[in-house]
Symmetry: D2
Subunit: 432 residues, 4 copies
């Protein structure tokens, strides 16, 4: 296997970590994944209730396979793969690495067991630590570049792990909680919605710093932006209830054509995870079933729903450029995973522009396409971002299950417009 | 819930067990189910890899729900259901009991956990023992009738448990064994195939004894049977290989029209579980991957394959009447579950007519329809057999995973013609 | 192409027609097909609105292809096929003749045009007449055997032509009539339903005469029949309305398991072609939309509906043996195609046992399987009947669109239990 | 019905035609549609062989319904609809007008007949002429605005009519020609490919003139464009054959992820309509089957294929902005419908930048999204363009079946990335 990946593959990072820092970060990220699984029963690791989601044990193994494939088998002399079939079982979509087990059937695998997967993790961890400590200097530069991708990759899967667990527990008629001990939203009223003005003009967006960023955030480039206004906070459940009450799900004129078909096929009448029980709205959370809080941001909506709501309000969604311009000078803080809620919370009046980071990934109206001058690199890691640049839309800002050190103003997340199982919401914009 | 089921519901048993015998049998059957699961990992209990199959933990809970629903909630005063939602989760298909969780999604349920299901079993067992010991005499007659059905029902699910586990492990690219310690087939050559003659005439088939039998085995009735010949043993893998080599899977003229479509849609080229590895035929068994033994009976074939093979041989499959006439005076012995192989084995020359019981369920050419005079009983237990009397075919004789005390000459099993995951094979017949 | 078909292929006819009679019959049947199409617009010949149905022009061409393939290319020296691709386009399902155009796409073909197909018919007719007149005596015996099949085959397609035209016009929101000039049902009340008793015993059924019959009606054989009662007439729309009013389509306990699934998937609430308009029941007929006549036989019901109604009435459907025993001595008369209604009509009190021939094909509870001793012949014509002997049920007696000279007491028609677009109804039976 | 559509609905036209000019244009466009259908047989008008395509008679009726619905029923006093159900049958997708007949079933309708549809056209034409001549001045301004949309709408359907006819004839195994008398491509070699440089900068695109343009071409707005190079001509069949020969359809690394899935599901190995017969490449054209001309532009490719080819060449597709900048000063000439080829032809060396108009719609890499400041108008005509602004991509320049007076530099056509049945090709671009 000749991966022939240039060291800076799929990233623009120019900075090489010290071995000490690398070990620290590696251990932290690896431990985080396992900590997130602590509340799970063995049975919870196994199931897949949606072809887009994956079993928890698959996530744990796949992120491990990533280090094994892209680092250990390349740089570690005499490395023995833990198991010859894991390459087949735990490759997600890297066509250049070879065939892979079909995604919708990941829930068919009772073996390897959870225990075996933890042994796989321990084995790879040990080999990785050894390699980090002992690699020669020339290799280290390359290993470092791939390691940093591997860690960000694992953090992305930590977020997916939580969204997939939520989905798996929500389809169970018993509606079990992932954790019974999660805090609830602070008891307060959502701040009044204000409209912040931006003058636009010829702006630059995209990453060009020296820290890590994905290749899809580059090159930094100029964009002409007409003046615009941005809502000071996210749309709330209460505002969304008004949309529903006004017949939002019944008027095709509010919807994109593909959205209206999707709504009809899925018999959508609310965001995902909402249930009306005895006249009262509830929603499934990682903490189990809870009454719907009207002041919390609306969450688990598709692009189609965000767009229809905006049309109904005579507004629109922001572009990713508008979002980035507004966000770039804000402190990178918010209700991210580290705050421990694992659920969007009511906004707190602490800035002019609220909730830009955390709570929910914000739908933008920007299709996920390459920035001018972007070119995916050759080799298997080039499949990381570029091959998805069609039919998806950009989301910005991270959510309540995104690790705090994983987000930045230039970060481009992307999903298909009909998908709802991630923590997604939106804020409004308008032309000035 | 008023089940209003007459005591002899779905059965023709007239015999009332002593409480002592009832307890013995109850304990044995209940223990058997749990023993069969001993080799499983927790993960193995959870998955469902086929909409027709069920997770092991679902089987364990469903058979328990049967006693709870049809006995405890009816006869046990102040009985408290173990969990209010289990009625919904573990009802299989009894429309009259209420809504049930969709069958193809049984693998979506990580909860209740395996441990909780064992607690559910223990709870119901305890309540059942108490009821058996303490019910008044009048109730006892009725409880006994339902208990006997419940035990036979659980035995049927023990067979399904093994076939479903086999399927689940076989689709896993690791091909794990259910048990590494299973014996292999005795090393011998299949006996020469003889043709046994039967003169036919006006015969009677069906059950009219005093032991337990399902309602679909009655009434005993007259059938006119032309003279016929029956093959002395089952068709072997070796004979089936000749069919394959002769292009059996390529000539539509050999196949029923629906069979040919099924073959093409499924890209069938062999029985289920066969794999050619480096020029050698292997088959997946409950003991893991094993080289194909040519003298063993062919197994895991659909009705369409059995019929096509027969056409190719210029023979036909027997009718269920022919099978019953030939079997009724034979000793009820064979390679059933109790022999411990859990796999069909090479026939032994010990009778004129071999392998009638055990090894594989034998496809007959008889559609599964009611016997003249059959009428399903009112009430939910009436759904047990009658509502399936369309589109399926009768199989006879039990298999290597059927409990030895569960089979009898009049027993009618039934499956759709395309289904292959049960242990099914066939013997040939011809007109005289 | 070597068809190697023995002359008596797929038939038991022993009788050889005179050439004069053959020509007469050939011309009559050929003309009948074209007469049936006279009310059609060119556009009506083209469409296919159901994968089971075929365009009218396809029927006209396919029956012609049958003579071309099985007679002209075999017996007519130097015969030139009308068009080299018609063999591919107009073969229905004879795998042994070669590949054929996919059935569900027959409505994709605007060419050959209707005019070309009439030219194809004229060409084949001319060649056939020549061959009939000039074939040597030895060939004539064989040609005769195939010709007779060809004529019955064309008559079967005449029936399908009408049922398919009805379906095509019924799905059109304009509900156009096939013929505006069709007579309506005689104005009378349905006779009282009586129960006729039959003593049963060892009976013989099946064909063994010297006229034409299909191979599936043979061999004549013995069957033991318990005594039974048969309803004197068909179930009426009025009786069926009572079933609907009693919640027949809402109680799963009345339905076969596969029937209940089919009903739910298809959202069935009535027979096919019924519509409630402004509180009044209407039905689509070949004469256009008409108010539902309660005394007419119910028509366009599936086996599942016939079975559920019978269960609700605490009766059952007759077996095909019972039907044949009751019908064999009746005059072969009824509301067949020649009576010109093209719609079932209210029964007339003229026998003890009414409506056995014509009006609707009567569902029996008998699966369509081979009679004892039946063996399909080798060669392509052997695909005519035998390969469908699985998953279908026998219907008896012909319908209002069956040619009067095409029906006989031993005639076995067969369809899948869910199919409704043929003219199908039922009568009740019960054990004595 | 209150359509409440402002007069300039879905257009930016400010210019009001004289009644004389309006009548001229109306008659020309209406006659063009009927002329295009002259080569058709009645049968060709009826069929639908693809859920995306429509029968010719549906196109003829739908464009007529447009005038009836948006003009006659609004402005013509006492107007009587030609047929009360045509509103249901011939509405394409205007949800605000009411329910419509399902698109995939348009081929189910044998009625109304072709003749009736021509009568419908004549009726509406007569009423329209009368209204144009007699409307009062105030109405005329509004009628004019809608009439102009109606005419452009009909021209769009003329293009679809030809692409759908091509598809319908191509799936027919007889491969009939639409017209036997079509000219073939001029016999010449494709010009050498040159790279033209553009300096980019802050540019303006979009329509702001006084003639007709669709609403989606506005507002004219500023875009920052990095410098770029554009290929002087379209990619040819010969160049595409090299891509195929190099394994283009076998290497997933060249493809977008969704493209690779689409290719696998459709078993794509070439553009649509290519066939290899006896080692020679042929393609289906409106003139029937013709040998593939290597110097002609490649046609009937999806976005995925255009993108994969570009990746293989280490180039990219142009953005719609780049295309418009390059095209805006060129003469609006090319191989459009009026040139009579109805097939892309070999480029002629007559400019620096060739084939920008006509031959094939050119895929751009730009998703079809609203221009900044775009807002779809309220009312049913607002559904014309805006509701499709998701999941589709922009194509520019018109094709060999686009009317010459229907194209302009700002024209935005849009299709889903997998669609191939339109006349679509591409040219390459690269960063400078």
């Amino acid at each position: 296997m000749n991966l022939s990946i240039p060291p800076t593959m799929a990233t623009t990072s120019l900075f090489v970590l010290s071995r000490y820092d690398a070990l620290q970060q590696f251990r932290t990220v690896r431990q985080d994944s396992e900590n997130l699984c602590k509340p799970l029963k063995i049975e919870d690791y196994v199931i897949q209730t949606n072809p887009q989601a994956s079993p928890a044990k698959w996530h744990l193994a796949h992120v491990t396979w990533f280090y094994e494939t892209f680092i250990l088998t390349v740089f570690s002399q005499n490395y023995r793969e833990f198991h010859p079939r894991f390459r087949y079982l735990f490759n997600s979509y890297y066509e250049q690495i070879g065939e892979f087990f079909p995604r919708p059937q990941r829930g068919w695998l009772s073996r390897p067991t959870v225990e075996e997967i933890y042994r796989y993790r321990a084995y790879v961890d040990e080999q990785m630590v050894q390699l980090i400590e002992s690699a020669n200097e020339k290799d280290w530069v390359n290993i470092n570049a791939r390691l940093v991708i591997g860690l960000h990759h694992e953090q992305q899967h930590q977020e997916l792990l939580l969204t997939d667990i939520k989905y798996n527990l929500a389809v169970n008629p018993l509606r079990p909680a992932y954790r019974e001990d999660l805090p609830t939203t602070p008891c307060r009223t959502a701040p009044k919605l204000n409209w912040l003005e931006y003058s636009g003009g010829l702006e630059s967006i995209g990453y060009d710093g020296e820290d890590f960023a994905y290749d899809n955030e580059s090159p930094r480039h100029q964009v002409y932006v007409p003046p615009f206004r941005l809502a000071s906070r996210l749309v709330t459940n209460g505002e969304y209830l008004e949309f529903i009450a006004a017949g939002g799900y019944e008027h095709p004129a509010l919807w994109l054509s593909d959205g209206w078909s999707t709504l009809q096929q899925g018999s959508w009448q609310t965001p995902l995870y909402w249930e009306k029980i005895d006249g009262q709205w509830w929603q499934m959370t990682l903490g189990g079933m809870r009454p719907l809080i009207v002041d919390e941001p609306v969450c688990h909506v598709s692009y189609y729903e965000a767009d229809a709501f905006s049309t109904w309000k005579n507004k629109r969604l922001p572009t990713e450029t508008e979002w980035e311009i507004a966000a770039r000078d804000l402190p990178r803080r918010g209700n991210l995973r580290d705050s421990g809620f694992l659920q969007p919370i009511v906004a707190e009046e602490n800035h002019e522009l609220l909730q830009m980071y955390g709570d929910v990934w914000e739908w933008t109206q920007s299709p996920y396409i390459p920035y001018p001058g972007y070119r995916p690199q050759p080799g298997a890691l080039g499949e990381y971002n570029g091959k998805f640049m069609c039919n998806q839309l950009v989301l910005r800002g991270g959510s309540c299950v995104t690790p705090a050190n994983h987000i930045r103003p230039t970060y481009r997340n992307f999903f298909y417009p009909h998908e709802r199982w991630q923590f997604k919401g939106f804020r409004l914009a308008e032309d000035l």
